[in-house]
């Protein structure tokens, strides 16, 4: 049954998915969802953190795995942060005094760099900032909890240096009131976000920790935590489910596909450039120009996406990443109607900047990583090429 594009499936195709059980996973009865026995979740008897054998369920509420990992307590972390802030302020007063009062941007720059260097250098050399050392806690990478690699320490330090003090620095250096207010609001938002994410996340890993796969542990934590459940409490892996037609594409594969989306569509690029130029040149037209240019771009994108997906089951981006867009009911490229529905919603979400986070979040959390556009078009993005399939299955198994 050749598809509309003319390539039908060769005999004997398939990577072990799509077995005769229809939608379910080929699994022996009673198997469930986990990895094969002997390879997985829950420590083997006599291992480390789990409850000892014979602990039983009847006696007391079982402590959650997260509580058993050697994460640092919130009280200590708050105390450590307070000490660090005070110490950094003292260290920064000297260069600030040397610069003088008439260089506002030099203050901001030095402040960011100073805080970043304070965090990064101390963390690289001693495994923790002075405040943390006093409180007997340190920063560790998720699996190998030795000292942080310099690269991770620098990235983490820069993030803390840019996000946290910049608002305060702007408020401190600005002379007009509006600047002070903006600075203070920025600082309040940044501090609340970091604080709340630290308090609410499992293992108290704030955004700065989650981005760079680190966490703050007690000083006495073992050098190597091989806790199999660690991954459940962290987000190093987003394991996609396999669809009946192949493993669903990982987030990284989809990001790569987006990057090369316009590779074989120069006309679409020219439309975008023309829209941008006209939008800039006629900026006197105000919102009307913006709205018209946006509509033109959206129509062009939706038409192109509809045609490519319905005709080939992929855009250049999907092809380069080894992916295909398939109809969830048939495994073929979606019909023009479904393809259009998908493309229209995708264009709306991708190119209306306020809606972009909705799309990103939805794709991240949905089963098979199917965003709203895949729902409405009844499609899924699956890994097709051998390399992409291996990547995706590896990610799912890891």
């Amino acid at each position: 049954m050749p598809g509309p594009s003319g390539y039908g499936p060769p005999p004997g195709y398939g990577y072990g998915y799509g077995q005769p059980q229809g939608y379910g996973y080929p699994a022996p009865p009673g198997y469930g969802y986990g990895p094969p026995p002997g390879h997985g979740y829950g420590p083997p008897p006599g291992y480390g953190y789990g409850p000892p054998p014979g602990y039983g369920y009847g006696y007391a509420p079982q402590p959650s795995k997260a509580d058993l990992l050697p994460a640092a307590g919130l009280g200590r972390r708050a105390l450590a942060r307070t000490i660090d802030v005070l110490l950094a302020l003292v260290l920064l007063i000297i260069p600030f005094g040397m610069i003088g009062n008439d260089r506002p941007f030099a203050h901001v720059f030095l402040g960011i760099l100073g805080v970043a260097a304070y965090e990064a250098l101390f963390t690289t050399w001693t495994g923790a900032t002075p405040g943390k050392l006093v409180c007997n806690i340190r920063v560790a990478e998720l699996r190998l909890t030795g000292p942080l690699s310099p690269a991770a320490a620098v990235r983490r330090g820069l993030l803390i240096g840019v996000v946290l003090p910049i608002g305060a620095l702007v408020a401190f250096s600005e002379e007009d009131e509006a600047g002070v207010v903006v600075g203070l609001i920025w600082f309040a938002i940044a501090a609340t976000t970091v604080g709340l994410s630290t308090i609410l996340s499992p293992l108290h890993r704030g955004f700065h920790d989650r981005l760079f796969a680190t966490f703050v542990v007690q000083k006495a934590a073992p050098a190597f935590i091989d806790e199999p459940d660690l991954e459940r409490w962290t987000d190093i892996h987003v394991a996609p489910d396999p669809t009946p037609y192949g493993p669903s594409a990982t987030l990284d594969q989809r990001r790569r596909a987006r990057a090369s989306r316009l590779d074989d569509a120069p006309m679409l690029v020219l439309v975008l450039v023309a829209c941008a130029v006209i939008g800039t040149v006629f900026d006197g037209g105000g919102w009307w120009t913006v709205a018209i240019m946006w509509t033109i771009w959206l129509v062009a994108f939706v038409a192109d996406e509809t045609w490519r997906v319905a005709r080939f089951g992929a855009t250049a981006g999907h092809r380069r990443a080894g992916l295909a867009v398939v109809d969830i009911d048939t495994g073929e490229p979606p019909s023009p109607k479904r393809s259009f529905l998908r493309a229209a919603l995708l264009g709306l979400l991708l190119y209306t900047v306020v809606l972009l986070p909705v799309l990103a979040f939805w794709v991240r959390v949905a089963r098979f990583n199917r965003g709203p556009h895949d729902r409405i078009g009844r499609t899924a993005v699956v890994a097709i090429s051998r390399r992409a399939t291996e990547e995706a299955t590896h990610a799912a198994a890891a």
């Binding site: 398939g14 229809g22 720059f109 690029v269 941008a276 398939v326 495994g331």
Partner: protein, 266 residues
Amino acid sequence: MLPLRDDAPTRNVPWATYALLVVNIVVFLFLQPAGYQNSDISDRSADEVDEYAYRWAAVPCELAERESLADGAECTGEREPDAILPEDKNVWATLVTHMFLHGNLLHLLGNMLFLWVFGNYVEDRLGPWPFLGLYLTSGLVAMLGHAAFNWHDAIPMLGASGAIAGLLGAYLILRPRGRILVATGVGGLQVIYVPAWSVLGLFFLEQFFIDEASGVAWIAHAAGMVAGALLALVLARLVADPEMPRFDAASTRSPNWTLPEAPPTA
């Protein structure tokens, strides 16, 4: 279209790019007079700013006359009437020094963004020393190009734009189909990957529509970009690049995969 990043993986630490970033930022923040980073300029710091510009920035007619204004170079173009002219100015040094100065924070940030996005790959491809050579030569050619069309002008020119335009030209030659993440103004703000040729080609064409009154040295941008492109054509042949996989246009046209089989219905 504002570039945010490109999709080229960085194989080596781009030390030369880092160094240029640091030098430009440090010079602007700590060495240039404080008047450059204050919005409300008092009379005293305005004088400082003018004097600094006339000492370190390049003035076309000084180059034409081969002597400084204080030494009696005759310029027909307009200039700041009360500016204090530095006595012992070395006119030729300004050909290099003007590249490391910036007029205000936006000027600096814009230039550093382009340097970061595009310099990174050009250095990775050519190596740090050819990269630095390309950067400085482009800046020089850009300045001379600007001077050639404004022979009697007495307005000092400063900024790394010419040199950085050279990097854009080099990028256009070395990696025209590279993907650049840009923020565009179509319908507010969107973020999308586009091929390098569209961003850089547009940048080049834009230069010819810049308003003369805006004070932007558009000839310097265009000349720098052409110089960078020509240098890259030569350097790319001298510096081998065995590791970089070549763009394979055929692979986007003839897929080496087929659609999977539909599952049998239960």
